[in-house]
């Protein structure tokens, strides 16, 4: 006997993500899922964002990591609530892990929740956490061919941050063709060029974030 199912394999994760979204919304928390390869600058971006919005927006952080808690310790020093999730070897965060984290954060006193996903451009693309926006960080040293290698991630991103632009004088990276490739398959995407190291053009990202927050 053949049984038609026609169901998304990740349906269970989608449902849990929806529950997370409701939990976030009921606490007026705006959540951003930060995605990138290892070393592109997720932790640096979180630190730069905290610094820039101190006293203005109440920030909380979820740190996803395969095993260490180094990033969480660095961020904890900034005096914001931070929760570490170790995936125990897993290559992405999923909605269930995020749910546990959400229940251990003081959501009532958080306006902006930054989630550092596991450094990987394949798997986290498939697993929604309940975030409001997916933000992808791609850095100059990684090269400008990433959109072709990881199309799903670039297709799903709401914003792409090109980080480490302070290195542009030393490395070959065609920002124009990189941006064009992303826009070809993701018309609505916002693209920013920043340097977390020098603070260059970080303000453009912050302004975008503030606009998103005001729509919350």
């Amino acid at each position: 006997m053949k049984i038609k199912v026609l169901k998304d394999i990740l349906d269970a994760n989608e449902q849990l993500a929806e529950r997370n979204r409701q939990l976030l919304d009921s606490n007026s928390v705006f959540a951003v899922n930060l995605l990138s390869s290892p070393g592109a600058g997720k932790t640096s971006l979180i630190l730069a964002t905290i610094k820039s919005l101190k006293g203005e927006i109440k920030i909380g952080v979820i740190e996803g990591d395969v095993s260490s808690s180094l990033d969480a310790e660095v961020i904890g020093k900034e005096g914001v609530p931070v929760l570490q999730i170790n995936t125990g070897g897993g290559c992405h965060l999923d909605a269930n892990m995020a749910y546990t984290a959400l229940n251990n954060l003081p959501l009532k006193s958080i306006e902006l929740l930054l989630i550092e996903n596991v450094g990987n451009l394949i798997c986290p693309a498939e697993f929604a956490l309940g975030e409001h926006k997916k933000v992808l960080i791609s850095s100059i040293p990684e090269g400008d061919d990433k959109p072709f290698k990881y199309p799903l991630m670039f297709h799903k991103a709401d914003a792409v941050l090109i980080n480490k632009i302070d290195l542009l004088p030393y490395l070959k990276f065609d920002i124009q063709s990189f941006s064009q490739a992303i826009k070809a398959m993701n018309q609505a995407v916002e693209i920013f060029q920043i340097s977390c190291a020098t603070g260059q053009r970080i303000q453009e990202w912050i302004s975008w974030l503030l606009i998103q927050l005001s729509k919350r």
């Binding site: 006997m1 053949k2 049984i3 038609k4 199912v5 026609l6 169901k7 998304d8 394999i9 990740l10 349906d11 269970a12 994760n13 897993g90 290559c91 992405h92 999923d94 394949i122 798997c123 498939e126 697993f127 061919d145 959109p147 072709f148 990881y150 199309p151 799903l152 297709h155 064009q180 490739a181 826009k183 070809a184 398959m185 018309q187």
Partner: protein
Amino acid sequence: MHELAITQSMLDLVLEQAEKAGAMEVGRINLVIGEMSGVVEECVKFYFDFISKGTLAEKAALSFLMVPTMARCRDCNESFELKEFDWACPYCQGNNMEIVAGKELFLESIEVE
């Protein structure tokens, strides 16, 4: 590596459907997988053999329908397969397209006894 999580979700869904139908055994599982998902057939099979042991689905054959990435040009309306490093419309060279297939990741059907 995300194949493990995907395979586990797929097995959960298969068992839920099989139990609901009062099946004794699952003979075949028909999957539809888009190329953009990056899911590797061999990996899914590998994990499946491992995690399906002792379940109704342990003897099931997996069949994959792989869907190529297809785009539609917003400028000239033509549809075409999107190949790596070729992100311009082959008809009008435009750079404005919509992905219409290739993201699939679903369980089409199961065959049970």
